[in-house]
């Protein structure tokens, strides 16, 4: 009995110690604005989680070194508390709860992926904590009426509908036939909905509509069907795995299709590692370094890419760029609100209308960014076999002309 009491008092002492020590964190301490973020540093999203974290850190350093955030005549610096959500939505929601109720964070940055953002959004909404997220593009995030969620990126349904429009345009405005293969996850299914809308809008016809399971590493059956049906466009979306599997098997099976459009080409490092196999693939991207948007902190895409490469040793994927942009949005909102009141900051966020190196940012009532179109780039290779991503659509930002139709394998 005595022992039990000792253990009990020891445990309660520990609990008290912990609860007091964490409360000493708060949202704005001294000259620091503390933001919270649950990020996938381990688990299946860890590589993109790290891209996200690098993007956040890069922007924090840059803003802090260029004068910080000015609110009420005082200068503040950004600081971020990170937790590892292990790529697990449940864990992410718990951590959001912990950041807000224990660590006292009053402003949040988003996690990586739509699934995890979906898990966190109800929590931030419940506490009225403004969250600027940069990596959750699923359409369903923006139809729930969330008031405190702001996404700097274009929603998922806009990823590939441009490709269908482009195919129709190349077909002299006549409808086209479309083969689709999409993974069964929130993001890819949203991309699919966007493509379906575009098919309907243009009077086109879908001839194959395959759903890829998440364990998939073989899509030969889909590609055999594509060979048989000869569609005008093949659209594939299944994260990095889908992009890699498709590129490998399309090349091996010599599948000829006039237009191949995909997502996640840059995450899959197609042009760098798979060279000629990936040639002519069209890829949807939130951002590309050659875009000519500008801001005062990172100047433009090329400068951002160079600075990022210097700091982290690799070319920034769009996941990093959009994450950096999230911090610029926060800074801008704090200064316009001129306050740390959550409601005022939220209203300032909702009124955001700015240009960053990543693109224009203006939020719709649902929270998605409506001012930044998706870009399509095409993998283009020179004679030495060196391949690069070149922006081909929309035409305003294009740095190269679309190659259409894709040459047959027998002629390459």
């Amino acid at each position: 009995m005595r022992l039990n009491k000792i253990i009990l008092s020891f445990v309660s002492a520990l609990v008290i110690l912990f609860s007091t020590s964490v409360v000493s964190f708060a949202k704005v301490v001294g000259d620091k604005i503390i933001l919270g973020a649950a990020i996938s540093l381990t688990g299946k999203y860890s590589s993109n989680g790290v891209h996200t974290q690098n993007g956040y850190n890069m922007a924090v350093d840059r803003i802090n070194s260029m004068g910080g955030v000015k609110v009420g005549g005082k200068t503040y610096k950004f600081d971020i508390i990170y937790y590892d959500d292990e790529s697990n939505p449940k864990r992410a929601a718990q951590l959001a709860e912990r950041l807000i109720s224990q660590d006292g964070v009053e402003f949040m940055l988003g996690p990586y992926s739509s699934g995890l953002t979906k898990a966190i959004a109800p929590v931030t909404e419940k506490y009225g904590v403004p969250m600027v997220e940069a990596n959750g593009a699923s359409r369903s995030l923006f139809t729930k009426g969330y008031k405190y969620l702001f996404a700097v990126l274009a929603p998922a349904n806009l990823y590939l509908d441009v490709a269908i429009d482009l195919a129709v345009e190349k077909n002299n405005g006549k409808p086209v036939t479309v083969a689709m293969a999409f993974e069964q996850d929130a993001f890819s299914q949203d991309v699919r909905l966007g493509v379906l809308d575009a098919i309907k809008r243009t009077g086109s016809k879908k001839v194959i509509d395959d759903k890829l399971p998440k364990e998939l590493n073989d899509m030969a059956a889909t590609l055999v069907k594509v060979k048989q049906m000869k569609p005008d466009v093949l659209v594939v979306s299944g994260h990095t795995k889908g992009a890699l599997t498709a590129i490998r098997q399309i090349a091996e099976m010599k599948v000829d299709v006039p237009m191949l459009a995909m997502t996640h080409c840059d995450a899959a490092k197609l042009s760098k590692q798979h060279g000629k196999n990936s040639q002519y693939a069209l890829c949807a991207s939130q951002w590309h370094k050659t875009l000519t948007y500008k801001d005062n902190f990172f100047k433009d895409g090329m400068t951002y890419a160079a600075d990022f490469e210097k700091e982290f040793g690799y070319d920034p994927p769009y996941q990093s760029a959009e994450s950096s942009a999230a911090l610029l949005v926060f800074k801008d909102a704090f200064e316009r609100a001129n306050s740390f009141d959550q409601k005022k900051v939220r209203d300032a966020l909702a009124a955001t209308n700015m240009q960053t190196f990543y693109g224009n940012i203006k939020f719709a009532p649902g929270g998605q960014n409506v001012d930044k179109p998706m870009v399509l780039f095409q993998v283009m290779c020179d004679d030495s076999g060196k391949c690069e991503n070149k922006v081909v659509a929309p035409t305003k930002w294009a740095s190269a002309k679309l190659i259409h139709p894709v040459p047959k394998w027998s002629e390459r």
Partner: protein, 297 residues
């Protein structure tokens, strides 16, 4: 439901060939599992993770500029020693316990491996390009990537070598003797401990070969092991232990079944149909395979 696969004879041929080539690869993994199951009565849940690890070995050779096909020689060597190490560290402590404990232990190893691979190699999906080209048959209507032909050929080669080894070599005979009757083998001077370690090592080596072939033919990812475990488990259940032709046949059968399920039910049900088939077979066989445990320390 889509019966396109039967409407065009060429697609039927394509599906059958794809399935058979894939099935041969599955059979190789299943053969390792059958061997170890038969000898030690251990169902190795980490089978698929060993496969993926073998794949990463080939992938890293590819990254460093060595043709990934050499992986089918390097991966089994490394994996053999890793297998022996796992045996010494974990398996020999659970091999004399009941089946449930050994399943739990290998399940633990599986989780550990997944996380370690994720930690060491990252969560990206990777593949090793072989640049083997493509074989076109029947007027270009049937396409067979040479990498698939290569992996089927290598799988058969390794299976034949293993069969000969088991028949002719001293260790092979000792393994077979232990599988038949461990007690008698031990009385007659077989070092059963060594046999168990070698068996686990050989199984890991086979997984290594299969993994290298998968990284050349498909893609690999730290969390992709489980479907391979399930497939080999199923092949072994259908074929029975110690029945190599049976393993080969049921491997190919499963490959063809998967391809047809893919065409008819849709790609999303491909892996699901394998799981469903497993349940049906288990019900049908009513766990006939639960053998009497025979382990001697």
């Amino acid at each position: 439901m889509d019966f396109m696969v039967f409407q065009y004879p060429m697609i039927t041929v394509q599906a059958c060939l794809d399935g058979i080539l894939l099935g041969i690869l599955f059979a190789l993994i299943a053969y390792g599992m059958a061997l170890q199951w038969g000898v030690m009565n251990i169902i190795n849940i980490a089978q698929g993770d060993l496969v993926i690890l073998g794949g990463y070995i080939a992938y890293f050779m590819y990254l460093y500029g060595i043709h990934p096909a050499w992986g089918v020689i390097v991966a089994p060597v490394i994996m053999y020693f890793l297998g022996v190490l796992i045996y010494k560290l974990v398996i020999n402590k659970v091999v004399d316990r009941d089946l449930f404990i050994s399943i739990l232990a290998t399940f633990g190893i599986s989780i550990l491996f997944m996380q370690l691979m994720n930690f060491a190699f990252g969560a990206d999906v990777v593949l090793a390009n072989s640049d083997y080209g493509t074989t076109m048959l029947f007027n270009d209507n049937v396409v067979l990537p040479n990498s698939k032909l290569f992996s089927a050929f290598i799988s058969i080669l390794f299976a034949i070598c293993l069969v000969i080894y088991m028949k002719k070599s001293k260790l092979g005979r000792a393994i077979r003797a232990t599988a038949q009757n461990a007690r008698a083998a031990k009385i007659l001077g077989v070092d059963t401990e060594k046999v168990y370690a070698a068996t686990f090592g050989i199984n890991a080596a086979l997984c290594g070969v299969a993994g290298a072939l998968i990284s050349i033919t498909f893609t690999i990812h730290p969390y992709m092991g489980l479907p391979y475990t399930i497939r080999s488990f199923m092949i072994v259940i259908v074929a029975g232990l110690g029945n190599l032709p049976g393993v080969a046949m049921s491997g190919m059968g499963l490959g063809v079944f998967e391809e047809f399920a893919d065409y008819i039910l849709g790609t999303e049900f491909r892996i699901g149909s394998v799981f469903l088939l497993l349940v049906l077979i288990l019900v049908y066989r009513r766990f006939k395979l639960s053998r009497k445990r025979e382990y001697l320390k």
